[in-house]
Symmetry: C2
Subunit: 323 residues, 2 copies
């Protein structure tokens, strides 16, 4: 199978272009038609075998995840997807792998209305680079820099299960098969919170997605906004942001997975305290659970306390590829 | 040096955002402000060590080339650059390499008004994935599918020198040092023909960039347009599209480099015969030489003949990563 046949067979689809796509795969460039006056939101993520995923991962799950981690960035900006490109280095043209990968990618692309509009295919060590484009009306984007003292700190969904699965797959902890299956689903098939991002336009003051761990990604918001935060670790552990599986583990491991795990692809965001009910309504309209974790403070830094108000030392760093 | 310090030091620049960039490196997404009503043109190219470049290539040249091959796609579409993203897998954080690479990248980005607005950095086998965004007014894009029988076939600049350098670097041919130096410049520092692409809006009927070889890339235009072409190989060899260095070589090697070489990043385009002078004026306004190579025909296929009108068998295939 040659390069062009590979592209045609696995990544080019027959039929009319989806709305907003003037020209898709097959020319020097793709052409999109954003709505006039909208801002263009762009993000790119590169996934490397052995670093971001195991060599034997299910290719359907990998196709899903490669796009999901990018869509998560659009969600964190409050942007609506317009399309994506895929650049792919492959050691060889493996038909079974390509069929699974493209199926996982297109299932999520269809569900998120984010058509694949172009790409590049080459031979090389397995590497996936997806770039996503979205649109957001001027001034409605959810930046990291908008958090203000007094705002509440929220997180969507649940934290830590992806890290729990990773620890189990690396042999650091043993889990019951059904617990591992649930956690692995969170590691391999994260859900980008696009509907929540759109619903939080005009409500949230700042947002980021949790890819490197809650502490690290909330830290980015705090630094960008020039503020700090006070969070209650015991309230977090008791909240809906922690799964029953994680809560059943020793407190130290549960906290480490939840706060420093990464790969959650939930939204961490802030909103004025007066918008508490509006946040809950937005979450309800987006069918996405949210939990309130604490408060933004004038004093910089991220401070954790227990249920009795005693300070806890939970200064886990963000994941760093070169640290 | 950690990942975030690496990004700040080599890829994030102080000062105000360039025009059109609402938000650059450092949030979940970059935000661009395309002019209202314009189409968004997008292309992505992935470069792998050992496949697209030698491991010991000058990192300044590599930074230039990684962006140049992407800008060449915008040029072939008649699009004006808006910005680019860079995803980078690095085996290690090598300060000398990073300084050179980012310098080469930013020099071209500045010259082409194509600011780096975002990216991703990870550890892994060296891999560079750049995605470029440009804008073009509706209906003015240069597609591959617009060539019509009777149109003239044109090419910009010169063909074949990049392949000549590659053959010499692979030890297949010996070149005088000054000849190799000139050819190597064409291989390692190609010039994206952005000004010509813009000048050809409304004049050219179809265009592509020559990345896989003239025969292959013109072939894409012919197939997309449902037409064929008749070209004169002797006229090509005598034209300004062939450098004196290449013309001095045996005819067979010169033709192979020029027609099947690839890595030229010139524009191959068609225009109605009545627009001959308009093409020359556009080329003059863009300060880019162009050469007329032949005619589009109703009969499909690419046919070469010599100066006496005798058919030549020069059916070189396009480069294929998986053939």
């Amino acid at each position: 199978m040659g390069e062009f046949e590979l592209i045609r067979h696995y990544f080019q689809r027959a039929g009319a272009n989806p709305p907003g796509v003037v020209l898709g795969v097959g020319d020097d460039c793709a052409l999109l038609a954003p709505e006039p006056g909208q801002r263009l939101a762009i993000s790119t993520d590169m996934l490397v075998e052995g670093r971001h995923f195991f060599a034997d991962v299910d290719p359907v799950a990998l196709g899903h995840k490669a796009l999901a981690v990018n869509l998560s960035d659009l969600a964190a900006m409050g942007a609506r997807p317009l399309g994506c490109t895929l650049a792919l280095a492959l050691p060889r043209a493996d038909a079974t792998w390509l069929a699974g990968f493209s199926r996982g990618l297109f299932e999520l692309a269809d569900g998120a209305a984010c058509p694949l509009v172009g790409g590049d295919t080459t031979k090389g060590p397995l590497n996936l680079c997806i770039t996503v484009f979205g649109q957001v009306p001027p001034g409605q984007e959810l930046r990291r820099s908008g958090a203000r003292a007094g705002d509440e700190v929220w997180v969507s969904g649940q934290l830590g299960d992806a890290r729990l699965a990773l620890d189990a797959l690396l042999g650091e902890i043993e889990l019951a098969p059904e617990v591992l299956a649930r956690a692995r689903q969170r590691l391999e098939r994260p859900t980008p919170r696009l509907a929540l991002g759109l619903a939080l336009r005009g409500i949230a003051s700042a947002a980021a997605d949790v890819s490197d761990g809650l502490c690290g990604d909330l830290g980015h918001i705090l630094v960008a906004s020039g503020v700090g935060a006070e969070l209650d670790a015991d309230a977090l552990l008791a909240s809906d942001a922690i799964s029953a599986d994680l809560r059943a583990l020793p407190r130290e491991r549960a906290l480490h997975c939840a706060l420093a795990g990464g790969d959650d692809y939930e939204l961490i965001f802030t909103a004025p305290a007066g918008a508490h009910d509006a946040v809950l309504q937005a979450a309800c309209s987006a069918a996405t659970p949210v939990s309130c974790l604490g408060r933004i403070t004038t004093e910089p830094g991220l401070r954790w306390q227990d249920a009795c108000g005693r300070p806890l030392d939970l200064a886990w760093a963000s994941f760093d590829h070169f640290a």
